[in-house]
């Protein structure tokens, strides 16, 4: 079952943070757990040591511009529970959803939060709240089709349920 409402500590990054800043080419020669150590390697060195399971990334405009490389797999590996941005690059957005990582568009979110504050968000109603400041911002509610992929845990999990993957990759 998909949790559509949850809370987490936020990390705020700026506008136009691109895929190469999260998944550099040299990390493409590594396994997912190793590659995950390189997220924001230049932008925020050492961040991967501070991030904790359940944390949320907040970004500005044009979040995830760039490659199709599956950054979402690395973010999930680090335990990130959601991405909230003022605007997503659509390829990056689709990648997040397809890897079971919720992504919500909320206008003005990058200035409504600071590092370390706690966010509560609701995917199906489409809003976020800053629990420290007691403020709330409306966002885009996720379409049913997207919620369905998230409920399955991602597109590979959905394919497994539909019998496209070998037995060893099917979950009971």
């Amino acid at each position: 079952m998909l949790r559509t409402r949850f809370s987490g500590r936020v990390w705020v990054v700026g506008h136009s943070v691109n895929t190469d800043a999260m998944y550099p080419a040299h990390a493409m020669k590594m396994s997912i757990p190793e590659a995950a150590r390189h997220v924001f390697y230049e932008l925020r060195p050492g961040w991967v040591d501070d991030v904790e399971r359940g944390d949320i990334i907040v970004a500005g405009r044009n979040f995830g511009l760039g490659s199709s490389r599956p950054v979402a797999a690395l973010l999930r590996e680090l335990g990130i529970s959601a991405l909230v941005a003022e605007e997503f690059n659509s390829l990056f957005f689709r990648n997040a959803i397809n890897h079971g990582l919720p992504a919500l568009r909320v206008g003005g979110v990058s200035t409504a939060f600071a590092d370390g504050e706690t966010m509560t968000l609701d995917l199906s109603e489409g809003w976020v709240a800053n629990d420290d400041r007691g403020t709330r911002l409306p966002g885009d509610r996720l379409p049913d089709l997207v919620l369905e992929i998230l409920s399955a845990g991602g597109i590979m999990e959905k394919l497994a349920m539909d019998g496209y993957l070998p037995e060893t990759h099917r979950r009971s």
Partner: protein, 418 residues
């Protein structure tokens, strides 16, 4: 209400009479293109796929394999192709950067949808094909099911007039648009107008490809005579007929922007990105360069190598500069060799590499060291894209890169002509 080109293709493939921005549609996909990288990390052989005849497998990003992981990807790819009887397989020897291989085999077809896990898949828009970057997991899902969903984005139309002056090419057109208008996040790009007729198919491909750099979804050109001639010439004789789309006269656009091609100059994007960061070469700071790169899906085409060869013929690359040239495919390589372009380039001091993505994404064959400055005709100039995050990457046309390699500084190609 009228529809834009992309709206028409999405409606057709969703089996509905019309679509409008904001709508989510599920579409049949005509061709799924799988690339080598997809087989190298976390590959799971599927139990069944939608249709082996609607799949192409292209070895491009890391060939011949530079790492054991990539070599294993090759093993997986070849097994997959054999298991499912995929006939459109472009293995090492018949390989090349996927967008080039797709084009030169007539696989990007007017009015159809093509899915590929590379962000520059919008390249196929040059041939009136709806194609956009999709993640590897999604392309895998399309491989299995034959379909996917799209949210219809609003379209920006570029109305091109006039024709390009000498020394100015598709890359300059794109950099001009990126510099002036900036990002097009969550928008489609449509090119039209009388000026289209004067744009070569290779210039159109460069422009369509680069749409990914301004964060656009699809970018597309009309299926005019030149487009249809190109597709026909490159298609197998038994190819099914295609049905291109035109924009309706009453289509609705988020913006219509008129651009006079005849007024354009060679452009350069400064390091970091292209949006709001591209200028006429005359306005860019004077920079010494250590590496010059001509290649990639956008600008490793035969025409690009022809232009570069014509600029360096009988001259020498400046001391302290490495000029790397990567033909976009094995076919381009052979054609450029036959035409003497590779000879001219090598005689001038260039290194000709195998056809691969290599240097473009900083993976193999020519990565940059700290403190170096590179001028590249590839697609992307993000920090760290081509190697060290402490290198600087300027982006320009093959003509500008070739001229700059001779001088050792960012140079207007019109200044080095005899």
């Amino acid at each position: 209400m009228g529809m834009t080109m992309i709206e028409k293709i999405l409606a057709r493939k969703a089996g509905v009479p019309t679509v409008a921005p904001g709508q989510i549609v599920t579409c049949e996909v005509d061709l799924t293109v799988m690339i080598d990288l997809q087989f190298a990390t976390g590959w799971i052989p599927p139990t069944r796929i939608a249709d082996p005849d609607r799949v192409a497998v292209v070895m491009d990003h890391a060939v011949p394999a530079p790492t054991v992981q990539d070599a294993e990807g090759g093993v997986n790819a070849r097994r997959f192709v054999a298991d499912f009887g995929i006939s459109k397989f472009f293995d090492v020897g018949a390989h090349g950067i996927c967008h080039q291989v797709i084009a030169e085999n007539g696989l990007a077809r007017p009015g159809e949808i093509l899915a590929c896990t590379d962000s520059h898949s919008c390249a196929a828009g040059a041939y009136n094909t709806a194609a956009r970057g999709l993640g590897p997991a999604e392309v895998y899902a399309i491989l299995c099911t034959g379909r996917t969903w799209f949210e219809v984005s609003p379209t920006i139309r570029y109305e091109l007039i006039g024709s390009l002056p000498d020394g100015v090419s598709g890359k300059d057109v794109f950099l001009h648009l990126a510099g002036v208008f900036g990002d097009a996040t969550n928008h489609n790009l449509e090119y039209g107008g009388d000026g289209i007729a004067s744009l070569s198919m290779s210039d159109r491909r460069t422009i369509a490809t680069q749409g990914a750099e301004i964060s656009a979804d699809f970018s597309i050109f009309p299926a005019d005579r030149a487009c249809r001639d190109f597709v026909d010439e490159h298609s197998p004789p038994d190819a099914a007929p295609y049905d291109g789309v035109e924009a309706d006269p009453d289509a609705r656009y988020a913006a219509v922007r008129r651009v006079d091609l005849s007024a354009l100059e060679p452009h350069v994007a400064r390091p970091g990105g292209v949006s709001g960061n591209s200028l006429p070469v005359s306005a860019v700071e004077d920079r010494a360069v250590q590496q010059c790169f001509i290649g990639s899906c956008a600008n490793g085409q035969l025409e690009d190598l022809r232009i570069a060869a014509s600029i360096v013929r009988g001259k020498k690359v400046a001391a302290g500069v490495r000029l790397l040239v990567t033909p976009a495919s094995q076919r381009v390589y052979r054609d450029a060799m036959r035409a003497g372009y590779l000879q001219d380039l090598a005689d001038a001091g260039a290194v000709i590499t195998n056809s691969t993505c290599g240097a473009c994404f900083g993976y193999h064959l020519g990565v940059l060291g700290p403190g170096e400055v590179c001028l590249t005709s590839s697609t992307r100039n993000f920090t760290g894209r081509m190697g060290s995050p402490d290198a600087e990457i300027y982006l320009a046309s093959p003509a500008t890169v070739a001229a700059s390699a001779l001088v050792g500084r960012v140079t207007d190609p019109r200044d080095t002509r005899d």
